[in-house]
Amino acid sequence: MTAIAQRLRRLDTNLLQLALLTLLIFAGMAALNPERFLRPYVFESITFVAPELGLLAIAMMVAMLTGGIDLSVIGIANLSCILAGLFFHAVGAPRGPELANLGWPLVAAGIALALGTGLLAGAVNGLLITRLRVTPILATIGTGQVFTGICLVLTGGPAVVGFPKLWGLIGNGTAFGIAVPLIVFLVVAALVWFMLARTAFGINLALIGTNARAAAFAGLRTGRTVFLSYVLTGGLASIAGILLSGRTNAAKSDYGVSYLLQAVLIAVLAGTNPAGGRASVPGIVLALAALMLLSSGLQIMRFSNFLVDLIWGGFLLLSIALAAWRNRTR
């Protein structure tokens, strides 16, 4: 018994609080409407919708780890899948059977195109932030506008509808009874966790976030490391874009705009310190679960989307207050 208690104590208190919050939300929603909330369909749909938001939150967390932020993630996600969609429409006949049945080599090329776009967009952010020393907030506000603007110029406004079946499988399919997007999310989350917790790159990022000057004096190549962290953020955002467009079979310049606040909220709730230095992938997974349970519970109770926005915003402010209170008692 004592061994278990000791292990529990060694766990981050923040993670325990998050797990408790998730349980509380689950219990609350189950108590409020048991017959509609406790159905397999509800949880199944969460496993399809949550991954794209989770990836954006991880992307936000990576940027926050060095004390920055990336407000262009939505723009990157949309630009990646719009470019891939236009590529598919160019090689296959638009909306015809040829497009839906594109072979895997072309779909793989589309994925490479989307990922490459994300990495390149992240590199632009990284260059602005590390070379030109523009603050992350303004640099990514600017590039976010440019990326969204390019989406508008390319599409003229309306959505790019119709993706190959194989592409849709990434957002809609199941493997071994589990949603493919969930598998993608868990694999990527595990990789990012490994990168942040077990490699020199991740440790360096946390050190830079804790004290950039000390890290530079300690001989870390801060510029290159921060640059790579924004490339990683861009790549993660483009994977979120792939999942989103795969699930909805469409790509548009203003999809997922409300995800920006939610990604920040999940990152902050997960115990990420926006001033830098602290980040936790397991925290993201728990915070994501808590908020997805909350939002699907509210949707079942027929709350309007605006009220859900009000609750998300309130939750963000509440989690800030909680974090401040936690730090004071320490």
């Binding site: 523009v134 303004l138 640099a139 902050v268 605006f306 859900v308 926005d309 915003g313 963000l316």
Partner: protein, 330 residues
């Protein structure tokens, strides 16, 4: 030559003024219709709301923060005030603007509480309050637009006031909106506050460094509450003015406006690191942004490019500011 460079460095506003002159002359050369009084007057009129909101953002940026909640605050103040005017049947200008300003002030003070007492980064606080307030307005107060037939007539009459009008070459009349004068008065008051009062100097000092400002004897709490309270009050005032100028109160209005306003302020030479920026620079930055975005059609550029242009302006202006400040430090 070095004399000019020195003048630019000593007065960053000259740089913005030069950009504005070059822009105006270029656009005027491409399309002489630009010089029509009606076009010039409408550009001045269009810069009123962006400019007043820019002054609110300037206050926050001078202190080293950033505010993305002001469009939501402006809309909340406008919509609640117009609803109250219709419901309670009062139709006079002064109480209406007092109410809108008061609503903005209260909301701004909420930001101040979170920034000062809970020590959270202003961007994340204002992201939360902005989303929550907009969710409250749309989810609780209402989503329906109040059109010209229901708008309080005195409000519309006030916004229609013209300073003077001239007869154009084709015989039509072009009038300059008196709202430009309202903008000028607010700008003058903020300028006097920033340059000639201890409270205003405290804002610059806080942006220069919180610890230093505290040791010199500035009251940090008072200054923070002044900044966010005043920024909220200005936003509330601008919101009602906006509704009066477009003859409608639309609770979904001003979405994404924060980016244009922030672009205008950074174009005006304000640094997000705080302590640098001026009212004159912000006015010039706002004018330049309005001239560029509103002249795309005259220049024969498709309006889908507008976002790309705004984004590039943000990137260029922040990169230039970062370069300028690095020179200072070196």
């Amino acid at each position: 030559m070095s004399g000019i460079a020195q003048a630019f460095r000593r007065h960053p506003e000259l740089m913005v003024a030069a950009v504005l002159v070059v822009t105006v002359v270029t656009i005027g050369l491409v399309n002489p219709l630009f010089w029509q009084p009606s076009n010039l007057f409408s550009l001045l009129r269009a810069s009123v709301i962006t400019g007043i909101l820019g002054l609110a953002v300037l206050l926050v940026m001078l202190s080293g923060g950033i505010d993305v909640s002001f469009p939501a605050f402006a809309i909340a103040a406008m919509y609640l005030t117009v609803k109250a005017m219709i419901a309670w049947g009062f139709d006079s200008i002064l109480p209406a603007f007092a109410m809108a300003t008061g609503i903005g002030l209260l909301l701004g003070l909420v930001n101040a509480v979170f920034v000062h007492y809970l020590r959270m980064i202003p961007l994340i606080v204002t992201l939360g309050t902005g989303t929550a307030v907009r969710g409250f307005i749309l989810g609780v107060v209402g989503t329906s637009q109040i059109n010209i037939d229901q708008m309080p007539p005195k409000l519309i009459d006030f916004a229609r006031t013209q300073l003077f009008s001239v007869t154009q070459a084709d015989g039509s009349q072009a009038g300059l909106s008196a709202m430009v004068l309202v903008y000028a008065v607010i700008a003058l008051l903020i300028h006097l506050l920033l340059r000639h009062t201890m409270l205003g100097r405290g804002i610059y000092a806080l942006g220069g460094g919180e610890e230093a400002a505290r040791r010199v004897g500035f009251n940090i709490r008072q200054t923070t509450f002044l900044i966010y309270g005043l920024a909220g009050a200005i936003a509330g005032f601008a919101g009602l003015l906006h509704g009066a100028m477009i003859w409608t109160a639309n609770p979904r209005d001003m979405v994404g406006l924060e980016l244009d306003v922030i672009a205008a302020v950074v174009l005006g030479g304000a640094s997000i690191f705080g302590g640098r920026g001026s009212v004159i620079g912000t006015i010039l930055g706002g004018l330049t942004l309005v001239v560029i975005t509103n002249s795309l059609i005259i220049l024969g550029i498709d309006t889908t490019w507008q976002r790309v242009v705004v984004g590039l302006i943000v990137i260029a202006a922040t990169a230039a500011t970062a370069w300028r400040d690095r020179k200072r430090i070196a």
